[in-house]
Symmetry: C2
Subunit: 384 residues, 2 copies
């Protein structure tokens, strides 16, 4: 099957780029002496994630094959594919605890996350009621962007003490996500954030241990900081997900180049508005997602960069606007487009702003490897 | 089952509001003497759409039960549910014609759309090659927002002549979508746009008929213009979809109130950042979609308006920001929040910016009718 045999829109994954991105991250994380616990929220596909799990180094608490999930549906799926070491890296909601216990009963070594004494008590009590001991990390806030306990906050020990060694709960360690690295202006700034991220969890791990509490897992992660970090001293594992595919937002941060982006959306030209210099396609926001992350970066890439079938960007063409199932392609600088070069039915590939969001709109990857031949179709899932 | 029994996030649909919205639109369109051809791209569910199909008036060319689709997957699904009269209202891509022919072979009365002589030739030739006669509408551009031929453009007749009475194609009429009505500043402005939309297709229909060409279908539609239109003279059918659910964007346009919005996302409080006045929830952009349509309206509703379990807005709380599986609730005006009112595990309902985009992130509707009792679970689908 060729790309030209597909109905559009369709999600295309370049396996060469995927493998290259994974190898680079694995070498970097391995060279820093820690384990990579891939975040599966981007790919939601065993075919993709198993490539990131190959050759992982193990640690006492973190066996090779561990993953990070953002939903219990991801946990269900990866457990059914033989992955047992699962970190659910979103603060636990009480209504999910029975489901977590079910996963544990099916063989999952689940680790959950929380950042308050209130949640710790709920978890301990629910664990006891269900007859399971939940293992939890305490979320650390290393950059003020979302959840977590700040280093130095006395509540850290309070939460640790409430979790530790109860019938329904135990403390496994600390975790942070330097999400603010997405707002960085340079790779130097990201490097500094990676160090801040590392220092924050290591300080909290030390505080817990100094108080006689266990802290086997010291977990950091975000694709920008994982890519740029120079030291992982005191850390046991790194979480990252979007690095497998990369996207225009990461390219805008300087964490990758557009040539590294493994994900694209195949689309057809369906019309033209010559007086407005628009090419109309059938990849709208439903196929690209509504993510406009690059709008706040130095170069606004619209809803995506327009490439030819070989994934080479065409001039300064971007998807300037979208409707649900329509894309509007225009020149970034408003220059006229020679419409005769883009006949009705021509296929284009669009590089996305945000791989997690764009992939989520699709149920399968059409896998290519340089050539426009579809060598495999890998299923993926969405939802909760 | 109660809403409190669900794992969050989950999509909730209020059947009372749905039925009210459908009844109001049906009465309005019926009073204007034309047929309603519901657009199913918002709901993607027979359980929802059959409520909009009940009691439709018929026209010679448009039998009761006709729907508008935005993908051939929608066409497949609604055909399998007994709906045969299907308008695929996105300019046809050549790689979809074989699929359209398959749907016709299965009993669908398919109408496709195009806006160029180039596409008309492709359709006619492909139809002849496949041994089918494709029925097509010509897309009319009534407001410059996307695709279509402007009234008065001589290419209209050229396209009509290329389609008409060929072995592989026939001309069925004209269609327009006043998408620019989404940028209106008042319902008066929308009313004027509805008239412009009507006048544009009626003028084009007359031009085709004056040239001896057939024009059985004269189709207009968008939820804002359908809601506000005062005349449908010369029109045969109205397409609209989002009116069934409504959303904050439509409320911002003045086309509905927040009390009409039938769709919400159920979420749990998972934490707090007291020093920032944030409540953290488990409904991030994956559950809400990345749609931020209200950002360009007078009142920016963030990623959604925060409501209690009975769908009543709480003070000035909005989802101010999101990550993939995290929502950050803040007060619209930066006022402090009494966190004791929002304990971990508390359930909230979030009204969305854009029903089409938010529903697309979910695979089912949890149906309620005023009370927090889930009276049904209706499946929905996504993709192509």
């Amino acid at each position: 099957m060729q790309l030209t045999d597909l109905e559009t829109p369709a999600l295309v994954l370049d396996r060469n780029r995927l493998d290259h991105n994974i190898a680079r991250m694995r070498e970097h994380i391995t060279s820093l002496g820690v384990a990579l616990r891939p975040h599966v929220k981007t790919a939601k596909s065993m075919d993709v994630v198993q490539r990131a799990l190959e050759g992982q180094p193990g640690t006492p608490e973190h066996r090779p094959g561990g993953v990070t999930v953002s939903t219990l549906k991801e946990a269900e799926y990866f457990l059914s594919n033989g992955v047992t070491d699962i970190l659910y890296a979103v603060g636990i909601a009480p209504n999910k605890l029975a489901h977590v216990a079910e996963l544990m009963a099916k063989g999952a070594d689940m680790t959950i996350l929380l950042d308050s004494a209130e949640a710790a008590d709920i978890v301990a009590q629910k664990g006891e009621a269900l007859g399971v001991q939940f293992a939890a990390l305490i979320e650390i806030d290393s950059d003020g962007h979302r959840s977590g306990i700040k280093p130095g906050d006395p509540r850290l020990l309070e939460i640790g003490n409430r979790l530790h060694g109860r019938a329904g709960s135990r403390l496994r360690g600390v975790m942070t996500h330097a999400g603010d690295s997405y707002n960085s202006g340079s790779t130097d700034a990201i490097r500094a954030m990676a160090e801040r991220e590392r220092a924050a969890v290591v300080e909290c791990a030390r505080a817990l241990r100094d108080a006689g509490l266990p802290c086997d897992i010291v977990s950091v992660g975000s694709t920008p900081t994982a890519t740029c970090a120079e030291s992982m001293e005191g850390v046991t594992e790194v979480r990252a997900g979007v690095f497998m595919f990369f996207d225009l937002f990461m390219a805008g941060l300087g964490v990758c180049t557009t040539e590294d982006i493994a994900l694209s959306v195949l689309t057809s030209v369906i019309g033209h508005q010559e007086d407005r210099n628009w090419i109309i396609t059938d990849a709208g926001w439903m196929a690209m997602s509504r993510d406009r992350g690059t709008a706040k970066q130095r170069v606004d890439q619209g809803y995506g960069v327009v490439c030819d079938l070989a994934s080479r960007p065409i001039d300064d063409l971007i998807v300037a606007d979208t409707n649900q199932e329509h894309g509007i392609i225009a020149d970034r600088n408003g220059r006229p487009i020679d419409m005769s070069m883009f006949p009705v039915g021509m296929l284009l590939r669009i590089l996305p702003n945000h791989a997690c969001a764009t992939a989520a709109q699709h149920s399968q990857y059409h896998v290519v490897a340089g050539e426009p031949v579809v060598e495999a179709v890998w299923p993926r899932f969405s939802g909760w």
